[in-house]
Amino acid sequence: GAGVSQSPSNKVTEKGKDVELRCDPISGHTALYWYRQRLGQGLEFLIYFQGNSAPDKSGLPSDRFSAERTGESVSTLTIQRTQQEDSAVYLCASSFINEKLFFGSGTQLSVL
């Protein structure tokens, strides 16, 4: 595709439910990032994938958060047993190695 695609664009869920967020990066981009942005706040690093290397999971806030990436394509971010503090916009970005990031439009997650 022409850009980074994220789905769904909006997700409303009940506390305690699991959610799965999807990111389709730009074709050929080896690097893929997930960030979290709470309302009016900056970008909080969550996880980084680079090619076939082990992902950098150092930003994941708890063991309820996990992410997978299939080769150099689609990534999914899974949040188990969602809590209200998980409500935020989840942004995915991809890039060629050491080059600028291209961001998707984000998934607005609301946990009721």
Binding site: L43, Y48, S58, L91, N98, L101, F102, F103
Partner: protein, 112 residues
């Protein structure tokens, strides 16, 4: 651990005035990025700075990088209302294909 600090975090200024946003980072880096985010939107890349002394300009925005001081600046010349947005700097670790860390952002409000 890489830390990125921006200041100011909020700036309200009159049209026609000049101002500078500062971005300090804590460890050696050779990749510095500036992004713009409009309310409710995703992030758009403005500049990529890859070497000491690098300067890039587009329109009324000019970014520079001093790797020795671990400082980048984003200078706004003769501000116009359309530049109202949140501006983020982001830094990648030197010589490593590693995660990119963002500052908290500077919310710029330009008054007519």
């Amino acid at each position: 651990e890489l830390k990125v600090e921006q200041n100011p975090l909020f700036l309200s200024m009159q049209e026609g005035k000049n101002y500078t946003i500062y971005c300090n980072y804590s460890t050696t880096s050779d990749r510095l990025y500036w992004y713009r985010q409009d309310p409710g939107k995703s992030l758009e890349s403005l500049f990529v700075l890859l070497s000491n002394g690098a300067v890039k300009q587009e329109g009324r925005l000019m970014a520079s990088l001093d790797t020795k001081a671990r400082l980048s600046t984003l200078h706004i010349t003769a501000a116009v209302h359309d530049l109202s947005a949140t501006y983020f700097c982001a830094v990648g670790l030197m010589n490593r294909d590693d995660k990119i860390i963002f500052g908290k952002g500077t919310r710029l409000h330009i008054l007519p």
